[in-house]
């Protein structure tokens, strides 16, 4: 951590107005908020910070813009104190599981020191982003690759000189490679292409791809933090998490905690999409943000939406009103951001059909290794499609529930229970639509809600 940058100076490093980055690459500038302006625009104040953090260096920040915005800094200086800073900051993983980053890193650091010939650990920056509705990681890699690289270098230094990889889809690679060549100290970072499959970003699939060229999850008798890539202690960290690590290493835990709540600290990027004509947009929102305020920020009226998919295809459907976006909190009233996906469904779309489409996709996205998943998910998709297609048979609901309980937690990865969780939220949120379908009406655009 660099002691000469005082947390109070944080405001000075954000000379630019906050920006929303749209999926098509364009952006909208918001007026910078005046600190005394609170009250005029209460919801917006609650919904998102005025000053950007992760994308502060502006569009497509090269090495020069990166240095201009964040200043010169040596990631080697992070050292072992980095993990303490991450613990104090309360940073959790931004890839989906929201596990505490310092614990994950410490586990690998501890394993690496054991034994007669200690194995050098490995850190992998995971930008695979197989979620069809997620685009925040590729946006971050395109616009602020140096912040991700800073975080990777700092994390590797903190783990005593760990090996380094960046794992991302083909479209992100040229920008990453360009960033690696234009900065010092990054020559040892290796870049591996992630296939465009749903499962390719699962942590054991990441290790399997780098080691064996096959991006499917591996059976884990031992944890990756004990024995991962080539038997070394391995930490697979989402690219946004690493960018947050870079900021915490520079400005400290207290600065990080200026955004968010005491239990959900800092900010996170979310990929927000919704019904046309709303444009897909990446927003940086504080921990514990109101879901309705985030939707408004993206240009949607929460009252005109039937439901919102939060967390991606392994997430949950929720009603837009009165939900807080946070990985911790009571189940009613808290929506777990997961991989940072927020996808709104308008009143014209039938939730049963939308869920059937997603589960069909997920069934096809199985790695076809583990029987319960390979057979169970297509069975669930089939039942859902029969309901969506108008089959009048109330036993189909019980069958869906039975199959969900059957497949859950039986596989090398969490694909089965992720899918089951989505289905159970659909049964809850779209209960009226399911009832209508099973009584022989609804079906098709218009739904019961319309």
């Amino acid at each position: 951590m660099s002691p000469d940058i005082h947390p109070q100076a944080a405001g000075d490093i954000y000379p630019q107005a906050a920006r929303s980055v749209h999926g098509d690459g364009t952006q909208t500038a918001h007026p910078p908020a005046h600190p005394n302006n609170i009250g005029q625009d209460v919801i917006r104040q609650d919904s998102s910070r005025r000053e950007p953090r992760l994308l502060a260096a502006g569009p497509d920040a090269g090495w020069e813009q990166h240095l201009d915005t964040f200043g010169h800094w040596d990631p080697q200086a992070a050292g072992p104190g980095l993990l303490e800073a991450l613990a104090a900051a309360g940073l959790t993983g931004r890839g989906g599981a929201a596990f505490e980053t310092w614990r994950k890193a410490s586990a690998a650091a501890g394993s690496g020191r054991k034994g007669l010939f200690p194995a050098r650990p490995v850190v992998i920056a995971n930008g695979a982003e197989g979620e069809p509705l997620s685009f925040k990681d590729r946006t971050l890699l395109a616009r602020a690759p140096h912040l991700v690289i800073d975080g990777l270098l700092a994390m590797a230094a903190a783990l005593g000189g760990a090996g380094m990889y960046v794992y991302a889809q083909a479209a992100s690679l040229p920008r990453i490679q360009q960033a690696l060549t234009e900065r010092p100290g990054a020559r040892k970072i290796r870049v591996v292409e992630a296939p465009e499959t749903f499962i390719s970003g699962e942590s054991s699939a990441v290790v399997n791809m780098i080691a064996n060229g096959i991006a499917v999850p591996m059976d884990q008798r031992r944890r990756l933090s004990e024995s991962g890539l080539n038997g070394r202690p391995t930490v697979v960290v989402n690219v946004e998490t690493l960018a947050q690590v870079a900021l915490i290493a520079r400005y400290g835990a207290q600065w990080f905690r200026q955004a968010g709540t005491s239990t959900d600290t800092g900010t996170r990027l979310v990929s927000v999409s919704g019904p046309a004509p709303v444009r897909d947009v990446v927003l940086e929102v504080p921990g514990g943000a109101q879901l309705s305020a985030v939707l408004q920020e993206a240009g949607m009226d929460p009252a005109s939406l039937s439901a919102v998919l939060v967390g991606g295809y392994h997430g949950r459907w929720v009603r837009p009103a009165a939900h807080v976006l946070s990985p911790v909190g009571p189940p009613d009233g808290t929506a777990r951001p997961g991989a940072g996906v927020i996808h709104a469904l308008d009143l014209q779309i039938c939730g049963v059909q939308a869920t059937a489409r997603i589960v069909t996709y997920l069934a096809g996205g199985s790695a076809r290794q583990c029987g319960p998943c390979m057979f169970g998910l297509p069975a669930m998709a089939s039942v859902l499609n029969r309901i969506a297609g108008g089959e009048i048979n109330s036993r189909l609901i019980f069958e869906l529930d039975r199959l969900g309980r059957m497949v859950s937690s039986r596989g090398a990865c969490r694909h089965p229970e992720g899918t089951t969780g989505l289905v159970s939220s659909a049964l809850e949120v779209f209960a009226a639509d399911f009832r209508a379908h099973l009584s022989g009406y609804c079906a098709g655009p218009g739904g019961v809600a319309a």
Binding site: R223, P372, R410
Partner: protein
């Protein structure tokens, strides 16, 4: 320390020998794959064993035609400690 029967789902082919050797521990699902009786969560993949079942489990490990089973000796994880990357 507790002994766990670890099921490698990527190798398991649902042959069913383990469910015959350990009928009190494992049932079979619709497709013939083992289901840990009365277990939820990751205990369906790392199935905790009673001492009485350990010998039969050992036999299942040796006889599984797909080499999908193994025994783990582990201290049970505390409920509040989730494990990363699992």
């Amino acid at each position: 320390m507790t002994t766990y029967l670890h099921i490698d789902w990527t190798s398991c082919d649902g042959r069913g020998l383990c469910t015959e050797l350990l009928p009190a521990v494992l049932a079979r699902d619709d497709w013939g794959y083992p289901v840990a009786r009365g277990k939820v969560g990751r205990e369906r993949t790392d199935v905790p064993l009673r001492d009485a079942d350990r010998e039969a489990a050992q036999e299942a490990v040796f006889l599984c035609p797909k080499l999908a089973l193994s025994l783990l000796e582990r201290t049970p994880p505390k409920p509040e400690q989730r494990t990363p990357g699992r």
